[in-house]
Symmetry: C2
Subunit: 402 residues, 2 copies
């Protein structure tokens, strides 16, 4: 018996580089250490003589050189300022080869990169706390496949079901449809967006109504995120032929119908919201404009409000005509008018001052202003970043279904 326990322990040790280390800022370890003053030290154990850099969201300009510390045989870097209470990502580069921290198992994919993530311990009322797993009732994240009649195939979505969904089986819930950006997929909001943790905490604090969050895959050329679909372990792709062509938006009622059939939703306009980031904001504007009686709440997060910049033009000038055979782009202003005549409960536009889409959003707001269409505007610092999109969902979700 002692022999067997010992063997099991040895077996573990063989694949256990480290033990009892802490990446949430409460403790310290060899590769990431939060200092008492809020700064962080990063370390990579490696032999001397290499060029080692840190690529991180908590480093100015994203990059920093690391210097060798002979006494611990590791490359080191300490941030100049305290790192912000947010979900941060990083990786190392050694002699031009970029890789994740060998001593931190917590990784997240962003398009075609894996990065490590860390989450500084918050003070209870900040974003870091809202993004953490706290001692509150927890909802469930479930992946579900729906059949798309227009695509004639099954497609994957992630669905957040609020705490109690599986045990309080008579209760019905409103639904937020939450859309990812270009290069993303149905795993982006749950992973990089920390949606399950944020929703658990907002609901537990009474700040957001208990709601279902449906997170579909917005790339209709595929059925699922890379590695989760029938295409196998392909790498995520930067381009797909039917992105931006309107087919996804026209077919969106299929997703709503599925959600209403599979989950205990409240299936009416007053209990539906749609929001998305970047391309997902473009999708959300298109879908809510095309189907003005489907959603009462609309959120455009750093949205690619392309149509606004090309008033009087059409996307078909830039995309092949055979890909554009959908009515989504017809009668833009007329549909927008119909949408606002139906008086949405909230039309929420959020953008960072440094976002490359800032001017496009300004143009779009001018268009809405010129028609006298009411909306709520939320302007932040920063650019086209996940830090902003997590901030936007934290600020948007409490406005819904009230």
């Amino acid at each position: 018996m002692k022999h067997i326990l010992a063997s099991l322990a040895i077996l573990l040790a063989a694949s256990a580089a480290t033990a009892q280390e802490n990446y949430n800022g409460n403790g310290s370890n060899d590769s990431y250490q939060l200092l008492p003053d809020g700064r962080a030290t990063l370390r990579l154990k490696a032999p001397k003589g290499h060029k080692v850099s840190l690529f991180a969201t908590f480093v100015p300009e994203a990059w920093a050189d690391m210097t060798y510390n002979d006494s611990i045989k590791a490359y080191e870097y300490t941030t100049a300022a305290p790192i912000t209470n947010d979900f941060h990502t990083y990786k190392f580069f050694m002699d031009e080869v970029g890789f994740t921290d060998p001593e931190n198992v917590h990784v997240v994919r962003d398009v075609t990169w894996q990065n490590n993530y860390v989450l500084p311990k918050g003070d209870g009322n900040d974003h870091a706390t809202l993004m953490s797993v706290n001692n509150v009732p927890h909802g469930s994240l479930t992946d579900v496949w729906y059949y798309s009649p227009s695509e004639q195939k099954s497609r994957r979505m992630n669905v957040y079901l609020p705490a109690g969904y599986f045990t309080d089986t008579n209760r019905r819930y409103p639904v937020l449809y939450l859309l990812h950006g270009m290069g993303g997929d149905e795993n982006a909001w749950p992973m990089l967006g920390r949606v399950p943790q944020i929703m658990d905490n907002l609901i537990a604090r009474g700040k957001a109504e208990p709601m279902i969050v449906v997170i579909p895959n917005g790339v209709i050329d595929v059925d699922a995120a890379a590695g989760y679909g029938t295409a196998g372990l392909v790498q995520p792709q930067a381009e797909f032929p039917r992105l931006f062509t309107g087919h996804y938006e026209m077919a969106f009622p299929e997703i709503v119908n599925f959600a209403d059939s599979a989950f205990r939703t409240i299936p009416d306009k007053h209990h539906r919201a749609i929001a998305g980031l970047s391309m997902g904001g473009y999708n959300s504007a298109n879908i809510s404009r095309q189907y003005p009686h489907l959603f009462d709440y609309v959120g455009l997060f750093s949205a690619a409000t392309i149509e606004s910049v090309t008033t009087g033009e059409r996307l078909k000038q830039f995309l092949p005509a055979e890909l554009m055979n959908t009515p989504i782009f017809e009668n833009f202003d007329g549909k927008l008018k119909a949408q606002f005549e139906a008086k949405p409960a909230l039309y929420w536009i959020a953008i960072g001052k440094d976002d490359f889409l800032y001017d496009a959003n300004t143009d779009y707001r001018r268009k809405l202003d010129s028609f006298g269409f009411p909306y709520t505007y939320y302007e932040t610092e920063g650019g086209h970043t996940w830090a902003n999109w997590r901030d936007y969902i934290i600020n948007f979700a409490p406005l819904l279904f009230k």
Copy 2:
């Protein structure tokens, strides 16, 4: 508009090291290429002058040196033989630093390591095909928290719900409880075990009954896998004080009660199975022996059948007495007799010839033989590996609920 699409594309390219690459053996790429004869070539792009090794499940003795190819500026290694049609993992080591492949986003955690994974394209009837996402009806994997009265805290589990669970809402299902090993958690069977894919395919082929698979966290000192619980982003730990002490097993009816309340189960012995690997096999033997009327099917996969080696002794000789205050170890033989008198539909023991627990399993089978207790024995090549545990679930699941 052209400007905005271009900006989005540039934004993507900034984080997109590669595009359209293929890790399922159908295509080729820079870092993993399956050759026509079934061998694989691995490549790491890096400057010359380093010592680079490959650590992989498809390399004899797990390690291989990689050699520099000047023409492509990369380190290369080609396997000597075709790689087997299984889920394989690998990583690179450069000058003593181990890291995952920068060009493969598909990673999986095994205790305290991240590894890449690849899945060679199967021929339709092999393990690789059963582990792949095919064009069949897909079930759902959902994470759910249950309240443990004995631990007075909520704890996380993963649950596989078969295809149709959310739409065919009158149907009830049998349940397999599937337990992880030491160093593992509730994410191990879904990720390394490929349980959602295997179950989807076995059910679609009519080889396994549609069933729910409940995958709890077996480390009662924590509430969830590292990074998914209230402890925050701690590293996974190799040791916990109450592993092997019987508390988890004694409290297991809490998990069954929760599953019966939260999911549409068929809540009787004939529709319940329990199985586990290594420590999870030890847990499964203990639980099914303690509660002989709970499970009709028992699977011990490379089980740590510790008690058999210490007949007449007690674990308390090796663990602190204050941790052993559970009745799970009392009256071992009497409980075992009661279990077999209740005539389980299946008592299935699987072990690899090279497993360090082979002799312990032989002892345990001798004990069962000496009492005349019937069981099914499945002996394979290989050792204490995920390749074997995936093979065992593929062979065990079709025997259930028939």
